[in-house]
């Protein structure tokens, strides 16, 4: 063992030693973030296991996972996830389409902005949940009103993001397009779209986050399936493990869908990659 030491020293060139810490920190940093929740979960598991607490109101992690596994085995879980995903997906799609169209129109034509924007801003000032009774009256208690509510939540950040991004496109770069005599559509495709894309992706992610928030609200109001229904059911039947299970799944799905947007956008945003990385450090 001792004889290994000099060999080890020899192989670690000065170049290696400068790379090693950065490589270490690249993997260590995310791990560091997981440490605290892991310790807390493990601690709570131990507390319940050793009998200091019965864990009835705050079930330990293993019991939560057992609940998830149970739901999965019975096929319930997939049904609820599918219902919720369907609602979020549809609401998100409507919200994004409407927000993108109106945001682009408002950003591009100042006349449209003067006509449209004050109304949109006024509507935005209304807390979106205030629409719930109206939507239920208009669209019924079933899917349509839920999807409308989610779409409303998604609409505003996307609208604002698109309009704002178009408004702040660098005039100087637009002028480059003009000197090369780009036509209107070419100007949009070759200058405006790429310039707007980073802000658009951010607004999509914010919109998706709100979509997840509003699907919970919509499903708590009344649903016979969906993760929000699991929450409500767990509360009414006094099953905290089921509530926590639904919360965990919400977290996973939220993170996963957000990550999907990020990954899908990444090839188009490679040019500004280093900015993001620089900020992280």
């Amino acid at each position: 063992m001792i004889s290994d030491a000099p060999v080890l020293q020899q192989t670690s060139e000065p170049g290696d030693s400068t790379i090693a810490p950065s490589r270490l920190s690249r993997y260590a940093r995310p791990l560091l973030g997981v440490l605290l929740p892991l310790i807390l979960a493990l601690g709570w598991e131990l507390v319940v296991w050793s009998g200091w607490s019965n864990g009835r109101l705050v079930p330990p992690p293993l019991r939560v996972f057992a609940t998830i596994a149970e739901l999965a085995r019975s096929g319930e879980l997939i049904r609820h996830i599918a219902a919720t995903l369907w609602r979020v997906g549809l609401g998100f799609a409507f919200g994004v389409v409407a927000g993108t169209l109106l945001g682009a129109i408002s950003g591009y034509w100042s006349l449209a902005r003067r006509l449209l924007d004050p109304t949109v801003q006024a509507l935005r000032a209304i807390p979106s949940l205030a629409w719930v009774p109206l939507f239920i009256l208009w669209l019924g208690i079933f899917e349509t009103s839920k999807i409308a509510l989610i779409a409303v939540g998604v609409f505003f950040p996307v609208y604002l993001g698109v309009m704002g991004a178009i408004l702040i496109v660098d005039r100087k770069i637009v002028e480059v397009g003009r000197t090369f005599r780009l036509s209107g559509p070419a100007m949009i495709r070759r200058i405006l779209l790429p310039a707007v894309l980073p802000a658009y992706v951010v607004s999509l992610r914010v919109g998706l986050g709100l979509g997840w928030m509003f699907v919970v609200a919509a499903e708590l109001i009344g649903a016979s399936e969906g993760l929000g229904y699991l929450l409500l059911d767990g509360q009414q039947l006094g099953k905290p493990a089921q509530i926590l299970a639904a919360i965990v799944i919400f977290a996973i799905l939220g993170k996963l869908t957000d990550w999907l947007i990020e990954v899908a956008a990444a090839p188009f945003l490679r040019w500004q990659d280093a900015f993001g990385r620089a900020k992280e450090i």
Binding site: V176, R178, A186, W271, A274
Partner: protein, 261 residues
């Protein structure tokens, strides 16, 4: 030939930036425009580029009136204005979208080689130094082979060394196809080293004050007495254009004064 006929520009806020500016610029001539800050140099250049319309008067290129950006007129700004989402190569090829891909790629490759950035073809603009970025901007403007290239203080944001490099480089590139160059500058040295003719403008409202032919062969020696003479006459004219009285320049002229604002 590029002809400016009594070009005037009054901005909506009432500022008269240009008043009856007339000049004729031969094909292939290198013209420097120099003058006090706010005397309408950029306004003039933008009118020639077709980016802004003159309030009255006409700009014609080979008898064709210029009212909007023209395929034969390129422009380089003070900042490189590269598109950050395009690689260096794609930036250079930006104005060649109508060409078939292979031809475009060839031209871009040649231009990259020509400005000495062949190894940066796939780099992003943010990875370039200021001088390199301006080289890309020059390549982008030259690659469609314009007949007239307008430059608005193209090197003023660069350090003295890089500036000299790029001045020489610009001349070198100019010799390839000999487009007309119209260069706005604050740097007397730059005007005299590059131009066949220097126009001096006078502010409020902006108009032509004086013109000085630089009858020097190329390449020019920045340290020759003749070069110094031309610099001195440009400086004197500039001072007069601002009604400053500096009768005896010879005694006070130092190298630091070559940069003129």
């Amino acid at each position: 030939m590029l002809a400016l006929d009594r070009v005037s520009k009054t901005y909506p806020n009432g500022v008269q930036a240009l008043a009856r500016f007339s000049a004729e610029i031969r094909q292939g001539e290198i013209l420097a425009i120099i003058g006090g800050s706010g005397c309408g140099k950029s306004t003039l250049l933008r009118a020639i580029a077709g980016l802004d319309r003159a309030s009255s008067g006409t700009v014609t290129l080979d008898r064709e009136a210029i009212a909007s950006p023209h395929a034969k007129i390129g422009i380089i700004f003070q900042e490189p204005r590269l598109l950050p989402w395009l690689s260096v190569a794609d930036n250079i090829g930006f104005g060649l979208a109508d060409l078939p891909a292979t031809e475009r790629r060839e031209k871009v490759a040649r231009a990259l080689e020509r400005v000495g950035l062949a190894d940066k073809a796939q780099a992003w603009p943010r990875e370039l130094s200021g001088g390199q970025a301006q080289r890309v901007a020059i390549a982008r403007a030259l690659v469609p082979q314009p007949e007239v290239l307008l430059l608005d203080e193209p090197f003023s944001a660069l350090d003295a060394f890089t500036r000299r490099d790029l001045q020489d480089h610009l001349l070198d590139l100019w010799a390839d196809t000999r487009p007309t160059l119209i260069l706005v500058t604050h740097d007397v040295d730059e005007a005299v080293v590059l131009a066949d003719r220097v126009l001096v403008m006078r502010p409020w409202p902006g108009r032509l004050f004086d013109q000085i032919e630089i009858n020097l062969g190329r390449p020019r020696d920045r340290n020759s007495p003749l070069f110094e003479n031309f610099k001195r006459s440009v400086l004197t004219s500039l001072d007069r254009s601002l009604d400053r009285n500096v009768p005896d320049r010879d005694a006070t002229q130092g190298p630091g004064q070559a940069m003129w604002w």
